[in-house]
C-alpha cells in the first residue's frame, strides 16, 4: 500500500529519518517494500500482511508509528453537527441476508456540486496510487485510504424505489463503472433497485447509478461486507479493486460510522453538500471484546524478562485497555480489544503485540534446553550414502523440475492418462507430474550432448501416479535413477552392479523385461531375491533421436524405499588364512543358457570352496558363445592341494555338463 510521508505526519509526529522510520516499521512487522522520493515528499510502499486489515489505511500506519515511538496519534475530529430534524429524504436499504452485510451506515446528502477536486486532495490520492476523478468520488476514495473503510456513493436520482441487498444468482449481469458488462457467479453481493442491479457490492459500483456532472443528491453507503462472499466473487470474476482488497479481510466493525461522518464533513466543505436524511448505522456500536491475559504467559512464551508495567504500557500504546486483576496468585490482565484489531482473539496474539513493539532483537539469544526426543536420531542418512556412492562411480547429481508437458511425455512414449495432472496449469510446460525420473534425465542429456560426448547423471526424487493409496494420497514413491550417455550395455550395467554391491543389496537378479517406454529392447527388471527393485536398459534409439542424442544411452531407475529395506549392514568376512588357488575355465554356451545359470551352478557345485568367479572373456568362436571364467578356490581349514583342486574342478565341470554347457579345460 502506497502512503506519502506528508500524509502520515498529519496524524503523528515523525522525527526520524526516512531510513530510521522504515527500519522501525519493519522490525515491528510493517515491511517497507520500496521508498520513492519525490521533489516534495517521500512515498512508502508497504507490504501489509493479510491479518492487518487495519493497516491498509494511513491512520493504521500512523497508529503503528505512534505505538513504536510512544507518541500521540491525532485523527481528524468526528462529525459534530446536530442532526437535521427535517429529514426530507429517507434512505431505504433492505438487507435480505444479514450475513452478507452485518454492519453499515447509510445516509443521503443533497445540494452537491460535482466538479474537480482541490489540488491537495487530487495530489494525495495520486501519491497513494489512486486516480483523481471528481470531488465526490475522490472523497470516498480519500476516506477509504485514510481510514481503511471503503464506501460507495450512488446517484440518488438514478435509483428507482427501494434498494435491496442480496446474493446474486448465477448468470445475472451487471455493467460496472469501468463499462464492462460482467456475468456474475452465484453468491456475489449485489444491490438492486426496482428495475436493475446498481452495485457489484464490495468490488465495483454499477454504471447505472454512477455519479456524474449532473448529480445533486447521493446515497452514501458505508458497509462491512461478508469477507468470504467478496473474496469468492473477486476470484470468480478475476477482479480485484482497492475496495475488495479491504472487504475480503476482516474489517473494523465500528469504522463505518466514523468513515461516513468523515466523508460527509469533506463533502460538505468541498462539494457544498448537506445531509438530507438521518444517518442510519446498523449494529452500531458493536459489542466490546475482552481477553483475559495471564501476564506470566508473555515472558514464558518469549523467554524474556519484560516488567509487567512495560507490558501494560506497550498494550496501551497499541490502544488496548488493560485492567489488572489477581486470580489465585496469578496476575491476570483483562485486555479490552480495540474494534479495529479484528486479528486479536487469543492471549497468544497479545504476546506477539508485546514482542513486536518491545523488539525481537532485544531478546536474549538462547539455545533449546528441553529434553531430547526419545526418537532415534538417524546417524546414517541412506540418501546421503547412496549419493556418495554414485558420485564415487563418476556420476553427477541433477535436480529437475517435477512438472512437465504433454509434448515431452509424448516424445518419451509415456501414456499421459496414467499421469497425475494439475487442474489449474499456468503454462503448458508445467502440467503433468513426472511418472519417472527419466523425464528429467533425458532432458538433461539433451542439454549436455552438445558439449559433452560421454557423461553420466543421476537424480533422487519423487515420481507420481494417478492411483490413490491408503493414505488418500496419489502414489508418489521416491526413486533413484541414472542415465549413462555414450556408454555400452556392460559398462552401464557395471556401474549399476557396483552401486548395488556398495549398498549391500542381497541376491541381485536381472530378468529380461517386457518393453516399457522410454526404454528399448535390452531391458531388465532388477530383483533383490523375489522383490522387484527397478529397471535397467537402453533408451529406445527413436526416442533418443527425438531428443537429438546421437549416442547409445542406458538408464536405470530403482525404488528408494525398497532399496533401503534390502540394504544390509556391512559385515566383516574374515580374510582367508590359507592361500587362494586360481585357475581359468573356458566354456561353450548353447544359446539357451544364460551366464546367470552358469554362475549359479558354479556356486552351488563348488560350495564353500569358491572364493570368487569372474567373467574374463566373452567371445564367439565359430558361431558358438565361449566364456572364459576366472575361478578362485580356498578352504577355511587347510591349504588346498592338487587332489582338492581336482575334486572341486570336477564337481564344477560335471554340474556344468549336466545343464548342457561344454567346459573345455586346458
Amino acid at each position: 500500500m502506497k502512503v506519502p510521508l506528508s500524509w502520515l505526519k498529519e496524524y503523528v509526529e515523525i522525527k526520524e529519518t526516512v531510513e530510521k522510520l522504515s527500519e522501525g516499521l519493519l522490525l515491528s512487522g510493517t515491511k517497507v517494500e520500496t521508498i520513492e522520493k519525490t521533489k516534495d515528499d517521500t512515498i512508502f510502499d508497504f507490504e501489509i500482511t493479510p491479518n492487518r486489515a487495519d493497516c491498509l489505511s494511513v491512520i493504521g500506519i500512523a497508529r503503528e508509528i505512534a505505538a513504536i515511538y510512544n507518541r500521540k496519534l491525532t485523527i481528524p475530529a468526528a462529525f459534530t453537527e446536530t442532526q437535521n430534524d427535517e429529514n426530507r429524504k429517507k434512505a431505504v436499504l433492505k438487507v435480505l441476508d444479514k450475513n452478507l452485510c452485518p454492519f453499515y451506515t447509510i445516509g443521503i446528502i443533497d445540494g452537491i456540486k460535482v466538479g474537480g477536486s482541490p489540488t491537495w486532495l487530487a495530489e494525495r490520492l495520486e501519491k497513494s496510487g489512486i486516480r483523481s476523478l471528481s470531488n465526490v468520488v475522490d472523497i470516498t476514495n480519500y476516506v477509504m485510504t485514510e481510514t481503511g473503510q471503503p464506501m460507495h456513493a450512488f446517484d440518488y436520482d438514478k435509483i428507482e424505489g427501494a434498494m435491496v441487498l442480496r446474493a446474486s444468482k448465477a448468470e445475472e449481469t451487471v455493467t460496472t463503472l469501468d463499462g464492462v458488462e460482467r456475468k456474475l457467479p452465484s453468491g456475489a453481493i449485489i444491490i438492486e433497485d426496482n428495475k436493475k442491479l446498481i452495485d457489484l457490492a464490495g468490488l465495483m459500483g454499477g454504471a447505472s447509478s454512477e455519479i456524474d456532472e449532473e448529480t445533486q443528491t447521493v446515497v452514501l453507503h458505508v458497509p462491512v461486507y461478508n469477507s468470504l462472499s467478496v473474496r469468492r466473487a473477486s476470484q470468480a470474476l478475476g477482479l480485484r479493486t482497492e475496495a475488495s482488497n479491504r472487504f475480503e479481510k476482516s474489517l473494523d466493525p465500528a469504522a463505518h460510522r466514523y468513515a461516513f461522518e468523515r466523508a460527509y464533513s469533506l463533502i460538505k466543505t468541498l462539494c457544498s453538500g448537506k445531509l438530507a436524511s438521518k444517518i442510519e448505522s446498523i449494529c452500531y456500536p458493536p459489542a466490546e471484546r475482552h481477553i483475559k491475559l495471564p501476564v506470566g504467559l508473555i515472558n514464558k512464551t518469549l523467554g524474556t524478562n519484560i516488567p509487567n508495567e512495560e507490558i501494560r504500557s506497550i498494550l496501551a500504546r497499541l490502544e488496548f485497555e488493560t485492567k489488572p486483576e489477581e486470580k489465585a496468585g496469578q496476575e491476570i490482565i483483562t485486555v479490552g480489544i480495540p474494534t479495529f484489531r479484528t486479528d486479536i482473539n487469543y492471549p497468544i496474539d497479545l504476546a506477539e503485540e508485546v514482542a513486536r513493539i518491545y523488539g525481537y532483537n532485544k531478546f536474549p539469544k538462547t539455545l533449546p534446553t528441553g529434553p531430547l526426543p526419545a526418537f532415534e536420531i538417524k546417524a546414517v542418512d541412506f540418501e546421503e550414502d547412496l549419493k556418495r556412492i554414485l558420485v564415487s562411480l563418476g556420476l553427477r547429481e541433477t535436480y529437475s523440475g517435477t512438472l512437465t508437458s504433454l509434448a515431452v511425455l509424448g516424445d518419451l512414449g509415456i501414456d499421459n492418462k496414467k499421469c497425475l495432472k494439475v487442474a489449474n496449469r499456468l503454462v503448458i510446460d508445467y502440467e503433468y507430474l513426472r511418472p519417472t525420473l527419466l523425464v528429467g534425465l533425458i532432458l538433461a542429456a539433451k542439454t549436455n550432448i552438445e558439449n559433452f560426448k560421454k557423461f553420466s547423471l543421476f537424480e533422487v526424487g519423487r515420481v507420481f501416479g494417478s492411483e490413490i493409496g491408503k493414505d488418500k494420497l496419489p502414489v508418489q514413491p521416491k526413486r533413484i535413477a541414472a542415465i549413462l550417455v555414450g556408454d555400452d550395455f556392460l559398462t552401464a550395467k557395471g556401474v549399476l552392479e557396483g552401486f548395488l554391491k556398495k549398498l549391500h543389496i542381497g541376491e541381485v537378479i536381472f530378468k529380461k523385461a517386457q518393453l516399457v517406454k522410454p526404454y528399448g529392447r535390452e531391458l531388465a527388471s532388477i530383483y533383490s531375491g523375489d522383490t522387484p527393485i527397478g529397471m535397467f536398459g537402453n533408451i529406445d534409439s527413436k526416442i533418443l533421436n527425438k531428443f537429438e542424442i546421437p549416442v547409445s544411452s542406458f538408464a536405470f531407475e530403482l525404488d528408494l524405499d525398497i532399496l533401503q529395506s534390502k540394504s544390509r549392514e556391512s559385515h566383516f568376512i574374515p580374510i582367508p588364512k590359507y592361500p587362494i588357488v586360481k585357475e581359468e575355465i573356458s566354456i561353450f554356451l548353447p544359446e539357451s543358457l544364460t551366464f546367470e545359470t552358469i554362475l549359479v551352478n558354479i556356486k552351488k557345485s563348488a560350495g564353500e570352496n569358491l572364493y570368487a568367479a569372474n567373467l574374463i572373456e566373452d567371445t564367439k568362436i565359430r558361431g558358438e558363445r565361449s566364456v572364459l571364467i576366472g575361478l578362485e578356490y580356498y578352504s577355511k581349514k587347510h591349504t588346498l592341494d592338487k587332489n582338492d583342486m581336482e575334486r572341486i574342478r570336477n564337481k564344477i565341470i560335471n554340474s556344468l555338463r549336466k545343464i548342457g554347457a561344454k567346459p573345455r579345460t586346458s
Binding site: 522490525l27 515491528s28 512487522g29 515491511k31 500482511t49 493479510p50 491479518n51 473474496r231 518469549l302 523467554g303 524474556t304 487469543y346 497468544i348 504476546a351 506477539e352 514482542a355 513486536r356 525481537y360 532483537n361 531478546f363 539469544k365 538462547t366 539455545l367 533449546p368 534446553t369 528441553g370 531430547l372 526426543p373 526418537f375 536420531i377 538417524k378 542418512d381 549419493k387 554414485l390 558420485v391 556420476l395 553427477r396 547429481e397 535436480y399 529437475s400 523440475g401 517435477t402 512438472l403 487442474a423 499456468l426 508445467y430 528429467g440 532432458l443 542439454t447 549436455n448 558439449n451 557423461f455 547423471l457 526424487g461 507420481f464 493414505d471 488418500k472 494420497l473 496419489p474 508418489q476
Partner: protein, 329 residues
C-alpha cells in the same frame, strides 16, 4: 620372418629382465656392463631389435619403434640414477608442471550440499529429519495450519490444485501436523523437501523449489531459543561473524511470527527464513495439549540459500543440469 606378437613379447621380456638386473646390480662397474649389454651400439639388445623392424610386414611396424625408444629412455634414466643418485634427481629433465591426466569425478548438486549442511547444523542440536508427500491434502497444507478455505493468507501462496482436496504442497509446513499426529513431544525434527507455487518462472521463481522446515515442541521451549537457534544456524552456515536481525511478520500457523535477515556485505540485509512459535491451534490440531507444551518452527528456501552461498543470481540454473554448472561443485 618375425611376427609382431613374439617381438612385442620380447620387448616385454627384455624389460622385465633388464629391470631385474639393474635393481640387483651393486657396483657402478656392473651397471656400466649392463648399459653396454642393453644399449651398446653394436651388440646391445635394444639396437638389435631395432634393426629387425624394417623386416616386419608394414602393418605390424606401427608402434614398435616408440616402444623400444620408451624402454631405452627408461633404462638410461634408471642407470644414471643408480650410478649417480644426486645428479640424477636434478637432471631427470621431466617438467613437473605438466598437468596430470584428467580423471572424471562425479559431483553432488549444490542444493544437496546446502541441504546436508543445514541438516548437520541442526543435527548437532538433536534434530532428526523425515521426508513427506509432495502431493498433499488441502487439510495438512492449509486447514490444520489455521488457514481455512478462502483464508486471505492463502493468497500469498499461489497453489497448484489436483482436485478439490489434493494440491501440490506450497510449503514443507504441511508436515507439521502430520508429524505431530504420530509423535509425542519432545519433538525436534526437520522436514526437507520439494514445494510448489503457481508462479511464472523467472530468475527468482520456479514452479517447484526446495524448502527445509524445522519443528521443536516440548514443555520448556521459548521464543528466545528460536531467535538464538536461528542466529546459531546463520553463524554456522554463513560464517561466525554473520550479523542477523529478526522482525515481526505474519503466518497463520505461528504466533508470534517473525522473519530473519542476514547482513551480506555489499548487498545489505537479505531475508533468509520465516519462523515463529507454533500457534496453539496448530498444536491442538496435532493432538498436542497447548496448555502443557509449546513449540517453535521455521522454514527456509534451500534454493535461496544455495544462491546466496555460491553467488548465483538466477535460480533456473540450479535446475538446468548443465554439466558446465554441475562440475563446479
Amino acid at each position: 620372418m618375425l611376427k609382431l606378437i613374439p617381438m612385442v613379447l620380447d620387448i616385454k621380456n627384455v624389460e622385465t629382465k633388464a629391470l631385474k638386473e639393474i635393481s640387483q646390480s651393486k657396483s657402478n662397474k656392473s651397471l656400466e656392463n649392463l648399459r653396454i649389454k642393453y644399449l651398446g651400439r653394436k651388440s646391445g639388445v635394444l639396437p638389435k631389435i631395432t634393426r629387425q623392424i624394417p623386416k616386419l610386414p608394414k602393418e605390424q611396424r606401427n608402434g614398435v619403434g616408440t616402444e623400444i625408444n620408451n624402454l631405452r629412455a627408461k633404462l638410461e634414466s634408471l642407470l644414471t640414477q643408480k650410478t649417480n643418485p644426486e645428479i640424477a634427481t636434478k637432471e631427470t629433465g621431466f617438467d613437473i608442471t605438466t598437468p596430470g591426466k584428467q580423471i572424471d569425478t562425479g559431483s553432488v548438486h549444490p542444493i544437496t550440499t546446502v541441504m546436508d549442511t543445514v541438516k548437520e547444523i541442526f543435527h548437532s542440536l538433536g534434530f532428526s529429519w523425515i521426508d513427506g508427500p509432495e502431493v498433499e491434502l488441502d487439510t495438512y497444507n492449509f486447514q490444520k495450519l489455521n488457514m481455512l478455505p478462502n483464508h486471505p493468507a492463502r493468497d500469498v501462496q499461489q497453489t497448484y490444485y489436483i482436485d478439490r482436496e489434493l494440491l501440490l504442497r506450497t510449503h514443507t509446513s504441511s508436515m507439521q501436523v502430520r508429524y505431530m499426529e504420530n509423535h509425542k513431544p519432545p519433538i525436534r525434527v526437520l522436514f526437507p523437501g520439494r514445494c510448489y507455487r503457481r508462479d511464472m518462472p523467472d530468475s527468482t521463481h520456479l514452479p517447484s523449489f526446495y524448502q527445509i522446515e524445522g519443528l521443536l515442541v516440548d514443555n520448556v521451549s521459548q521464543m528466545s531459543d528460536l531467535v538464538g537457534t536461528l542466529d546459531y544456524f546463520a553463524k554456522s552456515f554463513f560464517g561466525k561473524n554473520t550479523k542477523t536481525r529478526v522482525y515481526g511478520h505474519h503466518f497463520a500457523y505461528t504466533e508470534p511470527s517473525i522473519e530473519m535477515e542476514v547482513y551480506y556485505p555489499g548487498k545489505g540485509w537479505l531475508e533468509v527464513l520465516g519462523a515463529g512459535m507454533v500457534n496453539p491451534i496448530v498444536l491442538k490440531n496435532g493432538h498436542i495439549d497447548p496448555n502443557k507444551f509449546r513449540g517453535w518452527a521455521f522454514g527456509m528456501g534451500l534454493d535461496r540459500l544455495a544462491l546466496l552461498k555460491y553467488g548465483i543470481s538466477d535460480i533456473r540454473i540450479l535446475y538446468n543440469n548443465d554439466i558446465r554448472f554441475l562440475s563446479q561443485f
